[in-house]
C-alpha cells in the first residue's frame, strides 16, 4: 500500500495500537495551550491543534538533562537511569520536524556524536501532521518549508475532515503502515482532495522573502546601523530562544555536594550577557544589540555557512511569545528591502 486512510472513528483504536507498541508522545491540551507529552490514554491526544506552545525539540534535547553522577572518593562515575522508551512522536507539525532534521547534524557529526540526543532521537518514529490551518504568525514557505513538508518525518498524516490520509516517507514509515490496524487503501478522490487542500493552505502562506535572499542580504549586514534601532525594543529575555525549535545552545554545570554530585546539561541562550563573558571580564557581545544580531544572523546566515541550510523553520513561536512584539519576519524583511 502506497498511501493509506484512517477514518476518525478508528483514530482511538489506532492510537491505542501505537501505545501497545511503545511510548506515544503527542500534543496534549493543558489549560488553554497545547504541549507535547507522553500519552496517558488515547483520548488525551489533541490532533486538532494549531501548534504547541513549546517546540517538541525537548523530546530529544530536554531542558535539563543529567549527563552522569559522580563520587570523588574512588573517582567513580555512574550513568543516569535510562528513561528513553522506544515509540512514536505523533502529530508533530512539518515545521518542527524540519527543525529536528536541522538539529541532527549538530548532535551527530564526524567529530562528535552526542549519545544522549541520538539515543532519544533513534527511539522515536516520527509521525507528522500536515498543517491545514496556518496561524497569522506562520511563515514556513519563506524559510524553505511547506505545510506538508516531509523533511525529518517517517510518516505524514493529513487531516481530510472525517479521515486522515497516511503517507509513509521512509522505510520505518512503510514498516509501520503495514503493521497499523484499520488502515484502508487511499482512493483517488482522497489523493485529489489532499492535493487540493495542500494548494489551498499554501496559498494562505505567500512567501515574504526567500531563504536565499535572506542569507545573501544578511551576509553584508553585520555592521549595519539598523541593528541599533531594531534592538531598542528587545528586552533580552530570551523567550524567543526558549520556544525556538532550532535553538540548541546549552550550558553544562556540576552540582557538587560533599564530594559527590551530578553533571547537568541545561538550555542556554545567546541573549544572555553571561553567554559570551570571558574569564578575563571581556565580553565580545557586551550589549543587547550584538546579542540580538547574533541570534538573527545565526539563524539566517551562519548556520547556512556551517550546515548548508538556514536554521529558521518559520513556526512563528518567537513572534507569538515575545512580550514586546518583536517580529523576526520584519527584521529579516528590513534587510531584504534595503
Amino acid at each position: 500500500m502506497d498511501t493509506g486512510i484512517i477514518t476518525k472513528t478508528n483514530l482511538k483504536a489506532v492510537i491505542e495500537d501505537l501505545m501497545q507498541r511503545g511510548e506515544v508522545v503527542a500534543p496534549v491540551r493543558k489549560d488553554d495551550y497545547v504541549l507535547f507529552a507522553s500519552l496517558p490514554s488515547a483520548e488525551a491526544a489533541c490532533l486538532d491543534y494549531a501548534n504547541s506552545k513549546l517546540s517538541p525539540k525537548g523530546c530529544f534535547f530536554p531542558q535539563a538533562e543529567v549527563l552522569f553522577y559522580y563520587q570523588k572518593e574512588g573517582h567513580k562515575i555512574f550513568e543516569p537511569p535510562n528513561e528513553v522508551k522506544p515509540g512514536y512522536l505523533l502529530g508533530i507539525r512539518p515545521c518542527d520536524a524540519r527543525a529536528i532534521a536541522l538539529l541532527d547534524p549538530i548532535f551527530d557529526e564526524p567529530r562528535y556524536q552526542d549519545v544522549y540526543y541520538l539515543e532519544r532521537r533513534k527511539s522515536k518514529v516520527m509521525i507528522g501532521l500536515a498543517c491545514t490551518r496556518p496561524q497569522s504568525t506562520c511563515f514556513c514557505s519563506s524559510t524553505g518549508g511547506s505545510p506538508s513538508d516531509t523533511t525529518g518525518l517517517d510518516m505524514l498524516w493529513q487531516d481530510l475532515g472525517d479521515r486522515y490520509l497516511v503517507r509513509p516517507i521512509t522505510d520505518r514509515g512503510r514498516e509501520l503502515l503495514a503493521k497499523l490496524p484499520h488502515v484502508e487503501e487511499a482512493a483517488a478522490e482522497d489523493l485529489a482532495k489532499a492535493s487540493e487542500q495542500e494548494q489551498a493552505v499554501l496559498a494562505k502562506l505567500p512567501p515574504i522573502f526567500s531563504a536565499e535572499e535572506a542569507f545573501s542580504r544578511l551576509s553584508a549586514a553585520f555592521d549595519d546601523p539598523l541593528w541599533q534601532r531594531i534592538y531598542e525594543r528587545c528586552l533580552g529575555c530570551a523567550t524567543c530562544a526558549f520556544v525556538c525549535p532550532t535553538c540548541h545552545c546549552f550550558d553544562i554545570q556540576d552540582e557538587n555536594r560533599c564530594g559527590q554530585g551530578r553533571r547537568v546539561r541545561l538550555w542556554d541562550s545567546c541573549q544572555f550577557s553571561l553567554f559570551t563573558l570571558h574569564t578575563s571580564g571581556h565580553n565580545p557581545r557586551p550589549c543587547g544589540k550584538e546579542r540580538l544580531r547574533q541570534r538573527v544572523m545565526h539563524k539566517f546566515n551562519y548556520f547556512k555557512v556551517n550546515n548548508g541550510q538556514i536554521a529558521c523553520v518559520g513556526c512563528g513561536r518567537c513572534i507569538r511569545e515575545c512580550p514586546v512584539n518583536m517580529d523576526i519576519r520584519q527584521i529579516v524583511s528590513a534587510y531584504c528591502l534595503r
Binding site: L235, G236, C237, S273, L274, C287, V324
Partner: protein, 248 residues
C-alpha cells in the same frame, strides 16, 4: 579541617533575611555542622570581636557613621558576603534616593525625628563603603540559594548567581505569561534564581532580586506603559527594588 567562623551583621534593613535564615529548620542545623556561628543577633546573644572566616552583612549602607563599623568587619573577615537586596544593591531602601524632599521621617517619628541615629544619607549597597566578595540578591534571600552559595564558598568553588531573567524560569515551569493574562510583570528583565516564585503563584514579578546585567529599561518602561500604566507610575514600578539601578 578547621571549622570556619561566621558572623551575621545587620545595617539598614528589616532583618527579614536573618529571619529567613533563622527559620531554616533542618537545613540550618546541617549548616551549623560545617560552620561555627559566633554572632547572629536574631538567634543568639553572644557577640564576637575575633577574626572571622565569613562575615554576612544584611542591610544597606545609609549612615556615614556606619562606615567605621563596616571597615572593622572588613578588617577582621576573610570574606565579606552582602546578602539580601538591601546589602547587594541598596534594595527597597534606595527608593528614598529619588525623593529630594524626604519628609517621611517626620511623619513616622514625629517629634523624635531629630534624634541623631535617624540622621541618614542615600541608601547605598554595602560595596559603596567596603569591598564585598559576594553579593546575594533577593528580598528576602532565597534559603536554598543561600546554602548553595555558602557551600560553594566553603568548597572553594566560584559561586554563581543567575544572570538570566525570570522569564526563563517561568517558561521552564510552563507558566502562562502574565502579559498574556493582561497583567504586568518585571520578570522580563529581573534577575532569576527564585524559581519564578511570584508568577508561578499568580502574581507579577517585582524584580526583588534586581535586574540582569545591562537590562533594556527603556523598553521595559514602554512595555509597562502599554499595559495601561501612567509613565510616572511605570517608572516607579520599574525601580521598586532597583532604585539605585534606574536613573531619573
Amino acid at each position: 579541617m578547621k571549622i570556619p567562623k561566621v558572623a551575621f551583621f545587620d545595617f539598614t534593613s528589616c532583618e527579614g533575611c536573618q529571619v529567613e535564615i533563622a527559620n531554616f529548620d533542618q537545613d540550618l542545623l546541617k549548616l551549623l555542622q560545617v560552620v561555627e556561628v559566633v554572632e547572629f543577633r536574631e538567634i543568639m546573644k553572644e557577640t564576637c570581636s575575633e577574626p572571622l572566616d565569613i562575615a554576612f552583612i544584611e542591610g544597606s549602607f545609609s549612615r556615614e557613621k556606619d562606615r567605621e563599623r563596616l571597615q572593622k568587619i572588613r578588617q577582621r573577615a576573610n570574606l565579606v558576603v552582602a546578602y539580601g537586596s538591601c546589602a547587594a544593591t541598596g534594595g527597597i531602601n534606595a527608593l528614598k534616593n529619588h525623593k529630594p524632599d524626604y519628609k517621611y521621617k517626620v511623619e513616622v517619628y514625629g517629634a523624635d525625628a531629630t534624634m541623631p541615629h535617624l540622621e541618614t544619607q542615600k541608601a547605598l549597597p554595602i560595596s559603596a563603603a567596603i569591598p564585598v566578595d559576594l553579593a546575594i540578591p533577593g528580598c528576602p534571600v532565597n534559603r536554598q540559594e543561600f546554602v548553595r552559595l555558602v557551600s560553594d564558598l566553603l568548597h572553594g568553588k566560584a559561586p554563581t548567581i543567575p544572570n538570566y531573567p525570570v522569564c526563563m524560569e517561568c517558561k521552564k515551569k510552563e507558566n502562562i505569561c502574565r502579559y498574556e493574562l493582561q497583567d504586568t510583570c518585571l520578570g522580563v528583565v529581573a534577575r532569576a534564581g527564585c524559581g519564578a516564585l511570584c508568577p508561578s503563584n499568580g502574581i507579577p514579578c517585582e524584580a526583588c532580586r534586581g535586574f540582569v546585567d545591562n537590562p533594556n529599561l527603556d523598553s521595559l518602561v514602554e512595555l509597562l506603559i502599554k499595559t495601561g500604566m501612567q509613565p510616572a507610575y511605570a517608572m516607579a514600578k520599574a525601580r521598586m527594588f532597583t532604585a539605585n539601578l534606574v536613573e531619573e
